[in-house]
């Protein structure tokens, strides 16, 4: 924390929404602040307890993932995708594998698509659980984190069983999967679904209905639909503002069209709405997993004839997936070489963060942090 007498940033255009004091100071939140879950720095110009302007400063964990995508073969980039948003490693790998498959006209076998859906949804639940625990930690409740990690542990054990890793799975391959799933995984996943439903009810009793928690979130940090559109927000943020936009329905990919699920959305646009969207999404993911397990086809998990040396025909290819935080899209421009000419990664957190400056104006500092928590930011995803 630093305080300064004189202000560095241009205050001329800062609206004095909460007047009173004349003296302002700059407060640095981060880059190592527990509320940001990573190395995000937010330069806050404060008027007492009120935020006049919050300016996110990105780039502390920039690792040039896009550039790396342009200097290695398509298969070699796969491990990177797990590390962009380390909490939704599966979905990110899905996008990369998907774009290459689309370009090379490789069709993964149905079993692989189903397993991709199952593991992606498990991954989404585990990601939301981390968010849930960490968000409540921001708001001052410690115990929920332990409940969340207890359940998340089950998912990690299941995924570790089939992938060999607990976080950076790198499980999908161009044309299919690294390994097939076994009976034990299927049984374990079924057990987990049965275990998780009562847990979600318990979460509701423990936290969602808690009066202190509700008072802390309802009407805090409203984000309008217009603001969502302006900044390109996606995922639970836009659905919390009442727009039922979900890539799984809007641009169906993989095996998603074959499942019956809803897109939870809430009109209020406040932090509570975003919270409820994620809680509801976990229940929907369980639904998808259950259906996928019931319909799981047998067969191979790897497409035949995936060339060892993969050259994509010249052209421009896109593939979008719904990650836990919103729309993740990969765009590859190929010039008929083994290596992409351009690899663009459109990550949801950057757009979701960019509306923070406008949305947090005039808020109390603790409320602004509650708003930031409800955006569910993963910093490596912002910086790439």
């Amino acid at each position: 924390m630093t305080t300064q007498e004189t202000i560095v940033s241009n205050l001329a255009d800062v609206p004095r929404s909460n007047g009173g004091g004349v003296e302002t100071f700059v407060l640095n939140v981060g880059p190592q602040h527990p509320a940001t879950h990573g190395v995000l720095r937010v330069k806050m110009t404060m008027d007492g307890e009120y935020v006049l302007r919050a300016e996110p400063v990105c780039g502390y964990i920039h690792r040039m993932h896009e550039k790396m995508g342009e200097n290695r073969t398509y298969a070699q980039f796969l491990p990177n995708t797990s590390r962009i948003d380390y909490l939704s490693a599966m979905t990110y790998t899905h996008a990369w594998a998907g774009v290459v498959e689309r370009a090379a006209k490789i069709q993964p076998p149905p079993r692989a698509e189903y397993v991709r859906v199952i593991t992606s949804e498990l991954n989404r639940i585990s990601s939301h659980l981390v968010w849930w625990g960490a968000f409540l930690l921001d708001l001052g409740g410690f115990t929920p984190l332990l409940y969340a990690f207890d359940d998340r542990e089950m998912i990690l054990d299941l995924l570790e069983r089939i992938t060999g890793a607990r976080l950076t799975y790198c499980y999908y391959r161009i044309g299919g999967l690294y390994n097939d799933v076994d009976e034990e995984f299927i049984e374990g996943t079924r057990k987990f679904v049965h275990h998780m439903r009562p847990r979600l009810k318990m979460y509701r009793e423990l936290v969602t209905e808690n009066i202190i928690f509700r008072k802390r979130l309802i009407d805090i940090g409203p984000i309008s639909q217009e603001m969502c559109r302006k900044y390109g927000a996606t995922g639970p943020v836009i659905r919390g503002s009442g727009i039922p936009y979900d890539v799984r329905k809007a641009e169906p990919y993989s095996a998603y069209p074959e499942f019956d699920f809803e897109i939870p959305h809430f009109r209020e646009g406040d932090s509570m709405a975003r919270y409820l969207v994620r809680m509801e999404e976990m229940a929907q993911s369980l639904r998808i997993i259950e259906q996928a397990l019931d319909k799981l086809p047998s067969g191979p998990v790897m497409a035949e004839k995936v060339p060892r040396v993969l050259k994509l025909p010249a052209g421009d290819y896109c593939y979008a997936v719904e990650a836990a935080r919103g729309r993740f899209m990969v765009r590859i421009v190929s010039d008929n070489k083994e290596i992409a000419y351009r690899a663009k990664l459109r990550t949801p957190c950057l757009s979701n963060l960019s509306l923070f400056e406008e949305a947090s104006q005039g808020m109390l500092l603790p409320d602004a942090l509650a708003l930031m928590g409800s955006l569910d930011l993963v910093i490596p995803d912002i910086d790439r």
Binding site: R72, A75, Q76, F77, L78, P79, N80, R83, T143, D150, E153, D157, E160, R161, I162, T163, G164, A165, T168, C170, Y178, N179, D180, D182, M202, E205, L206, V207, E209, N210, I211, I212
Partner: protein, 179 residues
């Protein structure tokens, strides 16, 4: 006024419900594993750093230095050197270095090797004091393993005890491997 009273009552009730959940936890089994004293079983597909595999027929590493793994590795961790020994049909490996500091445990190398000459080891206690500790000579590691298993072995001939020892390290892997 009435609304305010209602809110206080329902608010209180919500806190009591939450308390009930918390108290219920006292009667649930403990899930924490006391790590150094107890350990969990390693997952069958656990991706540790790689290690060379012995060929049971010859007692030498299976690897014949084709360098496919070296090329597949996205992070340039692997350096393989091989030579054609006298009388042998294939090349054989003479040095196999792994720079574990750069390795992302992605497994591309294991997949690239068509002969199953490398696999994931099951070591996870890998703390070290310096960076050099993680630049591993896998060929030497295998030799040391061999010596530890059967000290009398000198000329790299097939020693059944040694292969058994290397497999013992992988025991639960071979038993439960999904493939």
């Amino acid at each position: 006024m009435r609304n305010a009273v209602k809110e206080v009552v329902s608010g209180f009730y919500s806190l009591i419900v939450g308390m009930r959940v918390t108290i219920g936890q006292f009667f649930k089994p403990i899930v924490t594993v006391q790590y150094p004293h107890e350990t969990l079983k390693i997952a069958p597909r656990f991706r540790g750093h790689i290690e060379l595999v012995l060929d049971p027929a010859t007692g030498k590493p299976k690897c014949f230095a084709c360098k496919l793994c070296e090329r597949a590795c996205p992070s340039d961790c692997i350096t393989v050197e091989g030579a054609k020994l006298e009388g042998a049909k294939k090349r054989s490996v003479t040095a196999y270095h792994l720079d574990f500091t750069k390795c992302s445990l992605c497994g591309s190398c294991v997949e690239a090797c068509r002969d199953g000459a490398i696999r994931f080891s099951r070591d996870y206690n890998l703390a070290g004091w310096s960076k050099e500790d993680f630049i591993m000579d896998l060929f030497k590691r295998l030799e040391l393993e061999a010596q530890a298993a059967s000290p009398e072995k000198v000329d790299g001939r097939a020693v059944p005890g040694l292969i058994a020892a290397q497999d013992a390290a992988h025991q639960d892997k071979t038993k439960t491997d999904l493939k």
